[in-house]
């Protein structure tokens, strides 16, 4: 028996080869951080549990497309970003459909929903409230950097920019957050 833990990439290579049980240790390593990442993006815990589940479903569904040479962490976070983006797009479509109907009552209900959403966020602490006021791209970069421990190099790869550009973006986001956080 060996004490060295198996790497993410080795585990995922086994999952790719249909040894699905090897996804369990990967779930243990990643479901917390992924849930954290998605919750800070969506500000909705129930939804984030669903989205986290979707990420693992996609890992299984598309396991054969995993290239063993690519870092698992980057792959899984890219997938989580896409899952979040898909959810966002679906929401946008729903909103557009609602406006097309021009149903006054429904619009009222939507606004009511938005306000109750605000009340939920008010019950969170100030920091989370301030974070939620940032635009999603800025929030995301801070979450990756500060809560997920991503270096600028990794963030750059994930967002498709250079490490230096990621650093500049992160610093801008931090300044934006500072202005909101200390506004009063």
């Amino acid at each position: 028996m060996t004490l060295t833990s198996t790497s993410d990439e080795e585990l995922m290579a086994a999952v790719r080869a249909d040894d699905l049980d090897q996804l369990v240790p990967l779930f243990e390593r990643y479901h917390g951080p992924l849930f954290n990442y998605l919750t800070r993006l969506t500000n909705d815990r129930d939804l984030s549990e669903d989205l986290t589940q979707t990420v693992f479903e996609r890992i299984l569904k598309y396991r054969s497309s995993y290239q063993p040479t690519q870092p698992f962490k980057a792959w899984v976070y890219q997938m989580a970003r896409n899952v979040h983006a898909d959810h966002w797009q679906r929401q946008q479509k729903l909103r557009v459909a609602d406006t097309d109907v021009e149903d006054v009552e429904r619009t009222g209900a939507l606004r009511g929903g938005a306000f109750s959403q605000m009340r939920v966020s008010n019950s969170h602490d100030d920091l989370h409230e301030a974070l939620n006021l940032l635009p999603v791209p800025q929030r995301e970069i801070l979450v990756l950097n500060r809560f997920q421990g991503f270096g600028y190099e990794e963030i750059g790869k994930l967002l498709g920019c250079t490490a230096e550009a990621a650093r500049v973006k992160a610093h801008r986001a931090l300044q934006a957050l500072r202005k909101i956080y200390f506004a009063n």
């Binding site: 479901h31 917390g32 549990e49 054969s64 931090l174």
Partner: protein, 288 residues
């Protein structure tokens, strides 16, 4: 009018986060340190950034409910059950070892540098020029091609459509069709009807080389939303491996995420070459 202090503050503001996290180069850190004692506003910013960083570091992680683990385990069990009969069927008919094949992408993939894009365009242009020269040698083709080239500025999509489809009884040779397709995108803008003509060519032209040239022409018009739709559709109908691989490269390079279901089907199509199926799988990996 800005005072020198204010513009210095404005300039230093961008450096303050890096100063707080001690990642500024020594020279710039010294500049900030020299400025701070005389500037209460920047001092306040530094204090706030330090407090914010501490609060961010102290924030407790969000922890999911245990139901997430239970749901995951249920989903995993389901998938394992699905796999069992498949495995029993798959084992006796072990697939013959497939030779390793390497596919070189014609299109720059997402992370590639600009110089790769430039290099790729040079190759494309060079191919176009070579092709053009070859075409001038043909006695019949030369006049048509010369006309096509000289008229390319005024060329309308209807003329192009007529030339590309053999409806008028006069069949234009495949190499001439390639030339027409290559010329078609020189003076067109997104939204142009040329896109529709090219999509028709991609779907219906019998010659795979013409279809390949059409792919390249469509890639140049990729700003048009119809191109993305058309490529996704083409993935499901094209059977030539070169065209299939080209299409996969294009949808990956253009980040057409809604192509994933088609790629998935392609990766499982028994009539597709192993190299195409592998390329489709790799494409899914980059898009999901």
């Amino acid at each position: 009018m800005k005072t020198p202090e204010l513009s210095a503050c404005h300039e230093l503001e961008a450096l303050l986060p890096a100063y707080v996290e001690h990642s500024l180069p020594a020279a710039e850190a010294a500049r900030v340190a020299a400025h701070l004692p005389n500037c209460p506003s920047c001092q306040l910013q530094v204090t706030q950034l330090r407090a914010l960083t501490n609060d961010l570091d102290a924030a407790l992680p969000e922890v999911p409910r245990t139901v997430l683990r239970a749901n995951f385990m249920a989903m995993l069990e389901e998938q394992k059950q699905l796999l069992k009969p498949d495995a029993a069927v798959a084992k006796p008919v072990a697939a013959p070892a497939q030779p390793e094949a390497k596919v070189v992408s014609m299109w720059p993939t997402a992370g590639l540098n600009t110089w790769m894009r430039v290099a790729a365009s040079i190759v494309l242009i060079a191919t176009g020029v070579l092709l053009g020269r070859n075409l001038h040698w043909g006695p019949q083709g030369s006049t048509e091609v010369a006309t096509a080239a000289s008229d390319s500025n005024q060329q309308t999509h209807t003329q192009l459509a007529r030339a590309l489809t053999p409806a008028n009884g006069q069949v234009v040779s495949a190499s001439d069709r390639i030339q027409l397709v290559n010329n078609s995108t020189k003076e067109t803008e997104p939204g142009d009807a040329t896109v529709q003509v090219l999509l028709n060519t991609l779907n219906f032209d019998p010659n795979p080389n013409v279809r390949l040239a059409t792919c390249e022409a469509l890639y140049r018009l990729r700003a048009d939303p119809r191109v993305r739709e058309g490529l996704v559709h083409a993935l499901s109908v094209q059977t030539d491996p070169n065209v299939q691989i080209t299409l996969i490269d294009m949808v990956v390079s253009m980040q057409v995420r809604r192509a994933v279901p088609q790629l998935e089907k392609l990766s499982k199509r028994p009539d597709a070459l192993p190299v195409v199926r592998a390329q489709a799988e790799a494409g899914i990996g980059k898009l999901i």
